[in-house]
Amino acid sequence: MTERVFTLPLCGNAYIPFKGAAEQLGLEVVVPPPITNKTIALGARYSPEGICLPFKVIIGNYLQAIEKGANSVVFYINSQAGSKKHGGGGGGMCRFRHYGHLQQLVMSKTGANVEFFILGEGGGLVEQMKKLTGKGTWDIIRTLRVAIKKLRLIELLEELSWKYRAVERRRGATSKALNKALTYLDGVQDFKTLDGLDPESFFCGVETLEQEPLQIGVVGEFYLLLEPASNCHVYEMLGELGVEVHRHLSLGEAVLRYPPSFILGKLMAWWLNMSIPSRAEIAEIARPYLSCSVAGHGRESVADTIRFHDAGCDGVLHLLPMGCMPEVTVRPILRKVSEDYNFPVLTLSFDELISEGAIRTRIQTFVDVIRMGRERRGKDHALPGS
């Protein structure tokens, strides 16, 4: 039997902790090359026409990783999501739940000889990982702890980069600092070092301007929020226009809200050390507009748009892959929220044919409109007092 060489789909920078974990557990891993138009075109060629963009990108990832020598795929599906216990949310009722099986069918049609390991389906996550790696429970838990900690640090770094990019004096300084930090994190495999890191310290070299950046919240479909190459790098685009971005959902939050199992959920909450609104709170905020879950993170999109408004953001950007079942369902509701709160919401839907130029034009216009709104509001506020 030949040696197994694993690959995993790209999803923002999340490959760093997971690759690290797999290597710690003694698996050989090939990370797919960064996503380009070629990746997306390759994935779209073999995928069913009507499937959503994340699926097509992931197939592209696999095909390119196979070229680099991978022969096995690890994928994770939260089989608990969508259950009544989880209030119908998470990827359980939407197409994501079927990704594993469809990926296998599509890959078999391409003629590629790959073995699939779908974690989370038909068995506990830890049990499956034990079987895959031949390691003990303790090793797995310890490796997971490092991975989750690293994931959280990466998310904090990303959030800080959005803050700094909006006010950086020299274009590109933030991205440079971020890349340096990520490269450093890639090499660290010990919990103590990670625990002692201050993410802010990586950005101390970035010179900043004295100005109040616009604040824009980003809501929408999970994969598009996480993978910059699938959303035409809108976070960077916004940052360069002097906008501070806030993402409504990160991988850590999604895992916390829809944990793979009760015990792992508790452990991860402890490792991640972050507080997020619970499912019940989200449901309560969204209730005036949406009384039940519509799968995926549709209800979160509605609730978080309202939360971004209450937190004083200047606008919300709603990202979705074309035809996304939950997000298309909530789109008319977001329009209504926008109307009721007099709050700008721009919806952008992405497919494999989208061009960065088209997105850039719309983002620029959106930012201009928001900026004008803020200036006008500023004047109105100034009038009574002066």
Binding site: I51, G82, M93, A295, T329, R331, S349
Partner: protein, 295 residues
């Protein structure tokens, strides 16, 4: 009270269940007419542009009912079997209608989980009638009507199987294959050309192990395996553009059919589908089937 039932989505799955239920409770049922040009126009105007045609059409039918009834009925089908789900787009229909048409639209809701109808129906019935016995009888009558419908379908299927004509199985959501305006009369077109059109919903459902989570996907795959054991001349898969469920299901259907060496055609419909295009494709498909039958 006048209760409006949109003739779309769930209506095609359980056509007699809800009309019987409300009728037995002594309410007046206003059923929207089969989809027509006017309703399609409203559907395109009010529906979300990235939804599938069927979800757009439900808003067209609700628009038709707005001034013609006091309450509109929109059940929440969470799943028709334990561990399975319905399409999540349906669940949002009442809330989205309120966003589109304003808060004055009143809905009646009935939750169906794991395919168990009684508790939700009893609860809904109690809000409409104070007499517990009437409600219980209405539930029993409604479920009996649904059973009768199932038996009718079964009888029709058996009769179609014994037909001499080449048999073509039409696979698709109930609300796609039975909305003859939206699918441009596909079933009649097949009949006109001397084919026996068997709709997938009339095939008996034998429970099978399946990874598919959606009711429709699971049922269709199971029924497909059942019907493939019969003497079938061709298969037409009918789906709406941007149907999320079909994006997953159709590749598996095609994979299954491929192994049986039966001609298979996938037709994708939306509100722009022209009749001429459909006729050409149906003609070609029927010719293919006839040639193979003769050979």
């Amino acid at each position: 009270m006048k209760i409006g039932i949109p003739r779309s989505l769930f209506y095609y799955k359980h056509p007699h269940l809800w009309t019987t239920f409300f009728g037995e409770l002594g309410e007046e049922v206003v059923l929207s007419p089969p989809t027509n040009r006017q309703i399609l126009g409203a559907a395109v105007r009010y529906g979300e542009d990235e939804s599938c045609l069927a979800v757009k059409l439900v808003f067209g039918h609700i628009w038709y009912l707005l001034d013609r009834c006091d309450r509109i009925f929109a059940p929440a089908y969470y799943g028709l079997e334990p561990g399975r789900h319905s399409c999540p787009k349906f669940l949002g229909v009442p809330d989205i209608s309120k966003s589109i048409f304003g808060p004055h639209v009143q809905f009646l809701r009935c939750e169906v989980e794991d395919g168990i109808f009684e508790p939700g129906m009893l609860e809904l019935g109690k809000t409409l009638s104070t007499n517990g016995r009437t409600v219980k009888r209405a539930v029993a009558e409604a479920l009996a009507a649904q059973e009768r419908h199932k038996r009718e379908l079964d009888a029709k299927y058996q009769q179609q199987l014994s037909s001499e004509r080449p048999k073509i199985v039409v696979i698709g959501h109930n609300y796609v294959i039975h909305d003859s305006f939206a699918n441009l009369n596909l079933l009649a077109k097949l009949e006109e050309r001397g084919m026996e059109a068997i709709t997938i919903d009339s095939v008996p459902l034998i429970p099978r192990e399946s990874f598919l989570r959606w009711d429709f996907a699971y049922e269709a795959m199971s029924q497909l395996q059942e019907v493939l054991a019969q003497d079938i001349a061709g298969i037409i898969v009918l789906s709406n553009f941007n149907c999320g469920v079909d994006a997953i299901t159709v590749p598996f259907v095609e994979d299954e059919v491929e192994r049986h060496d039966i001609p298979c055609m996938h037709l994708i419909l939306d509100e722009h589908t022209g009749e001429a295009g459909i006729i050409t494709r149906v003609d070609t498909f029927v010719d293919t089937v006839k040639m193979r039958v003769r050979a």
